[in-house]
Subunit: 267 residues, 2 copies
């Protein structure tokens, strides 16, 4: 039913998932992709589990209608709350960003002490803590919700006095717990990496989910013999549930390339 | 059809409108009120006109089902985009926060130079500019969208290093235009008044819509003979479209009183 030439489907609450798409484009340059940003309901990180699951189902439905061969939930909050429901309900492989990111952090730590930052919803879900515990029992995990990082990244203030002052306020508590690895548990946060790294200092490894997620997507496609043929540039489609014209301007900062066309959809 | 004992209806995208409700409670202590925060779709300030109108209609429908006698749109973005549609469609008086706030600013300025800050949507709508021009032709208006102020207020960081650094960044351009009055064109911003005032300095009058809106509500009720009887403490009801348990914690900061009970509704 799902052809190798079918697109990958990726959704996020808005623009943050473009940091994941960027790594997927790098790792799998022949794969066509349909990206959906739920900009009419963004953000997910401050909303309840029930509401996020409802929104995630709506996003998945739109992408399934586009005959995708694999679904990437490129939003940590949606991954935390909705991944089990989507796996139960959908007929394609469903990959979130939490397991790949947690694996990357477990590989990176030498002291067995990891800091995790994310949205209020992601941190409250306890999902990173439980996944890290299952991958490497006994690992110490210090978590902190950083609600201002998403609007900060969307404002395009990626470094400077304000981002560093906010990072200092949020990270102090985690850094005081002697972690040696800091996991960016939100797809917006790679945009703020310089400010976060400046506050964390040189002794801390900073990891995010994007590379690891792209790698797992490649492994699944390979294992299922679903990979696209290497026959020229693939088609990238961008869908949003609100304000297509303002979505495109995030292309440079989040995706590292220009977004030429964005279409409106809704559920 | 609408009894004097019927409640006032107030809606906002989330918690910001509680700053308006606070002034209405002070000014009209006998009026029962139903407050609705659309927390499943918050914020409105970053979304398109079409989407905000759709959400505003949904909110109005829920409140009309509660037999309200007057509707206050306690959200600047919804006031900017949806007030005309709601006035056309509803059978009760509909009051936004833009006209009262603009009138207050026009009364306050001596130099005829006003600064207006608000969400991206409110500023892009041009509504403050056109209302001020109609009230006092020839007034100079300098506008600036301040997208980080809403998440900052919701994070509860009302004053200190970070709010002042953000305020400095946003306000510099407006202050350089020699305004003598600064209008807080978003219901969240009164929470940040100290930080904003510290950056603006003593020569600038800072005005918001909340007092002025409460005053206009009182005038309408009086003119229509709709005011409630002064017979004991009125009932206040709080409705939200998501996460009722986390809404209550904003009572102290935004409303100045404890919110005991919040009910979930949706549209």
């Amino acid at each position: 039913m799902h052809e190798p030439g079918a697109p990958l489907g990726i959704f996020d609450s808005g623009v943050g998932g473009l940091t994941v798409l960027r790594r997927i484009m790098d790792r799998l340059p022949h794969e066509p992709v349909v990206y959906l940003g739920d900009t009419a309901r963004v953000p997910y990180g401050t909303k309840s589990a029930e509401t996020v699951v409802r929104y995630a189902r709506g996003c998945a439905r739109i992408l399934m209608d586009r005959q995708i061969k694999l679904l990437v939930v490129a939003c940590n909050t949606a991954s935390a709350y909705a991944i089990d429901a989507l796996r139960d309900e959908l007929s394609v492989p469903v990959l979130g960003v939490i397991e790949p990111g947690a694996q990357r952090a477990v590989n990176a730590t030498r002291s067995g002490r990891i800091g995790v930052i994310g949205t209020a919803g992601t941190i409250a879900s306890g999902r990173y803590q439980s996944v890290i515990e299952s991958l490497a029992p006994g690992t110490f995990v210090a978590c902190k919700a950083c609600p201002l990082f998403v609007p900060l990244a969307e404002e395009g203030w990626s470094d400077g006095e304000v981002p560093r002052a906010i990072a200092e306020t949020y990270l102090r508590e985690i850094l005081d717990r002697d972690v040696d690895t800091l996991l960016l548990g939100c797809t917006h946060y790679p945009v703020l990496r310089e400010a976060i790294a400046a506050v964390a200092g040189p002794g801390i490894a900073i990891v995010d989910s994007a590379d690891a997620t792209a790698e797992v997507v490649a492994e699944i496609l390979s294992a299922m013999d679903y990979a696209a043929e290497a026959d020229g540039a693939p088609v990238y489609s961008y869908l949003v549930t609100d304000a297509p014209q303002s979505f495109a301007r995030f292309g440079d900062l989040f995706l590292g390339r220009t977004i030429a066309r964005v279409d409106w959809v809704d559920f």
